[in-house]
């Protein structure tokens, strides 16, 4: 399932992170991801989101993710 793929990729990218993946519509391609990680500390929002986009580059590129909403937060 796509949600599990996304969660695994985020777990790999943010091993210490607190991660939530929600299938917003139940259709398996619109997701809300929330990541709380010390990797975001001191970074502007755009750089935080770029890290998440990079972690999910494959499912974003191949259309597994049709829509992605991102919420990020540092731990500091």
């Amino acid at each position: 399932m796509a949600a599990n793929v996304i969660r695994d990729l985020l777990d790999q990218a943010f091993p210490e992170g607190e991660i939530a993946v929600e299938d917003r519509t139940g259709g398996g391609d619109h997701f809300q991801v929330t990541v709380v990680s010390d990797a975001f500390n001191g970074l502007p929002l755009i750089q935080q989101h770029k890290l998440v986009n990079a972690a999910l580059a494959a499912p974003l590129a191949d259309g597994t993710i049709h829509e992605l909403r991102i919420r990020t937060k540092g731990t500091a």
């Binding site: 929002l45 989101h49 986009n53 992605l68 909403r69 919420r71």
Partner: protein, 120 residues
């Protein structure tokens, strides 16, 4: 570099605030594009909207330039601000208005228009 690439780059470089979106400001075709537009409007931004839907190459060239995979994409004075989530978050915190005030001056006209990308 293709003509399309140059055209997109020129829009990013010359429009004070531009949103690459699905649909137009008059007829947004995606909830996220609408969210970005609403946040920009409430922050008092003059908005130029570019529809990426007429040709998939627009989105491909844009993403190659911006290194941002999703639509919408908001640029202020040539700088990528982010997508709908960041634009909304920055609006809620007051940073979006501050950024636009700093870039364009607090005393500004607010307008919304559509910019067409010419295709071969």
């Amino acid at each position: 570099m293709s003509a399309l690439h140059d055209q997109i780059k020129q829009v990013i470089d010359t429009e004070p605030v531009v949103v690459f979106m699905k649909g137009t400001p008059d007829a947004p075709a995606c909830g996220n594009s609408l969210r970005a537009l609403q946040a920009l409007w409430q922050a008092g931004a003059p908005i130029a909207g570019v529809d990426v839907l007429p040709d998939p190459r627009i989105r491909q060239e844009l993403t190659a330039l911006s290194e941002w995979p999703t639509i919408p994409q908001v640029f202020v004075k040539g700088e990528l601000i982010g997508g709908a989530d960041i634009t909304e978050e920055l609006f809620a915190s007051g940073e979006l208005k501050a950024k636009i005030d700093a870039a364009l001056g607090a005393d500004r006209e607010q307008s919304v228009r559509t910019v067409e990308i010419a295709l071969d």
